[in-house]
């Protein structure tokens, strides 16, 4: 996609009919998102328990760490018994696991996937690469600190972390959600300008709307 694709233009259909396409208004929402805060305390406590016990992960592996997620679905580690399941579409998932190094090219896809997820949503940084760049800290095309681009709820240190540490990380995330601290989605929207500024510094030739879904 380039910036020209987003411009208003006339398109000829297969049967010769001409119609106007305005991609920004037709395919994206140009309205700025607004934060949605938790409601009643007691109700929210119960709902947070439900959210923590039913975490749906977006099946999106950004780097080499994705290989550590596969054993979690199989008999040896079986994360399903902790209420963790994988979904193939960002619309239905709650947790984005950024698994390993994040190249500039992938960052764009990660941002788009993250913004398509619904509030409340959580981000987990897997491996040292998401904390400080790890072994890629001086690479020309990977980012060093994931926290500058997306609100991260919890990290799992290691290179590579074993599946056991991933399960430990999920348990940590559950604790955070149950305490009512998993408000990354609202944090992202409140500080949208700062996050967008950081993202635009890295992604050259920004060719998508500021908030896309």
């Amino acid at each position: 996609m380039s910036m020209d694709d987003l411009k208003k233009r006339k398109v000829t259909g297969p049967d010769g009919e001409e119609f106007e396409v305005d991609p920004l208004n037709d395919y994206f929402c140009t309205e700025r998102p607004h934060p949605e805060y938790p409601g009643n305390k007691i109700v929210e406590k119960f709902l947070n328990w439900a959210r923590a016990e039913s975490i749906w992960i977006l099946g999106f592996g950004t780097g080499c760490g994705a290989i550590e997620m596969r054993p979690l679905m199989t008999p040896r580690f079986d994360a399903y018994r902790f209420g963790i399941q994988w979904r193939p579409t960002p619309r239905q998932s709650n947790l984005l696991v950024v698994s390993g190094y994040l190249s500039v090219k992938t960052l764009k896809r990660v941002i788009r996937s993250y913004e398509q997820m619904q509030n409340p949503k959580y981000v987990m940084g897997l491996g040292s690469c998401t904390i400080n760049g790890g072994m890629y800290w001086d690479s020309y095309n990977t980012i060093n600190r994931l926290d500058h681009y997306l609100p991260v709820d919890t990290y799992i240190a290691g290179c590579m972390p074993r599946p056991e540490s991933l399960i430990a990380g999920f348990e940590q995330l559950k604790k955070i959600i149950k305490e009512g601290k998993g408000e990354g989605a609202n944090k992202y929207i409140e500080n949208l300008d700062w996050y967008k500024q950081n993202q635009k510094k890295i992604i050259k030739g920004w060719d998508m709307p500021d908030y896309n879904w």
């Binding site: 709902l47 016990e53 099946g59 008999p75 018994r81 979904r87 193939p88 619904q118 509030n119 879904w213």
Partner: protein, 302 residues
């Protein structure tokens, strides 16, 4: 005929029971499948938590009016089908709104949800939704042929289109059940059932490995929760219908649940044993084998 308002209360009560049965069956089935794969598996009450979580999502976005109506149509298809069906034979409480022509109305309701879903998913605009819906509608239409043939056969056999009368005719022992008196119709209907249960070999419609994940791709938060509610109610309504028509109905809930569970295991056993069909293959299969059995059932019935 006088309408009794108390029937509404009984119907809602039956609907609640069936919703819980559906959710528990889902969890238990996944648990069994996991144990077969040597996994520990999800907790049996996980479907409840998933449902609550999805209803509790704070934000949701829409793609238009039909996007809203898609899940609503789907759910009303499931609930509508259940509400016009007698559940427990001879019980004054669990007859729902069954009347003398309910078998025909239910056959319509079975297809209603799929059509609503087609409109809703189409407006979602995701290419995978469109592909999934195209596949789903073709497969469902093919599976509908043997099913309707079986229903016609049963209706001719008992000379009635009232489910209550069909159940009444089967009372008095296992030899009176339709599965014994009209085996061809039962075979056609059971094979047709496979096509609408979204299990292998007929799950190409929403198989995560093929098209992630078919019609519900764009549905999220509350929309997805409504669809999940329907996924608990609709298969159970079908089970109740099949138990009533082919397996002698039931005079109490435990017997009904036992029969439903055994019947529910039928598509699942087939599913774990057979690989997935493509849509063109499954349509050919439905027309070649179950439909022919259904025609034989209509021809042989007296």
């Amino acid at each position: 005929m006088k309408f009794e308002w108390i029937k509404i209360l009984y119907a809602v009560w039956a609907l609640l029971i069936i919703l819980n049965i559906g959710l528990v069956f889902q969890g238990v089935t996944q648990k069994i499948a996991a144990r077969l794969g040597r996994r520990y598996g999800i907790r049996w009450y996980q479907p409840y938590i998933d449902l609550m979580k999805n209803y509790a999502m704070r934000s949701s976005i829409t793609h238009g009016v039909m996007f809203y109506l898609g899940p609503v149509f789907r759910l009303s298809g499931g609930i509508g089908m259940f509400l016009f069906m007698p559940v427990i034979f001879d019980s004054p409480y669990f007859q729902n709104f069954s009347f003398s022509g309910d078998l025909i109305l239910i056959s319509y309701f079975m297809f209603f949800g799929t059509l609503g879903m087609a409109l809703g998913a189409g407006e979602g605009g995701h290419p995978y939704s469109a592909i999934g819906i195209t596949r789903g509608l073709s497969q469902m239409t093919a599976a509908e042929v043997p099913q309707i043939l079986a229903i016609i056969s049963v209706a001719v056999q008992y000379q009635t289109i009232s489910i209550t009368n069909i159940v009444a005719a089967q009372q008095g022992g296992i030899m009176n059940w339709t599965v014994m008196t009209n085996p061809f119709a039962t075979a056609a209907a059971l094979l047709a059932l496979l096509g609408s249960m979204m299990r292998p070999p007929f799950d190409v419609v929403l198989a995560p490995q093929e098209i992630p994940i078919g019609p519900p791709t764009e549905f999220h938060s509350n929309f997805l929760a409504v669809l999940q509610t329907n996924r608990a109610i609709f298969p159970m309504a079908k089970m109740v219908l099949f138990v009533n028509i082919f397996f002698g109905g039931a005079t109490n809930w435990p017997l009904m649940i036992a029969k439903m569970f055994l019947l529910y295991m039928w598509p699942i056993f087939i599913g774990v044993a057979f690989p997935r069909f493509r849509v063109d293959q499954s349509i050919r299969w439905f027309i070649k084998i179950p439909a022919v059995i259904g025609i034989i059932a209509v021809l042989l019935v007296r």
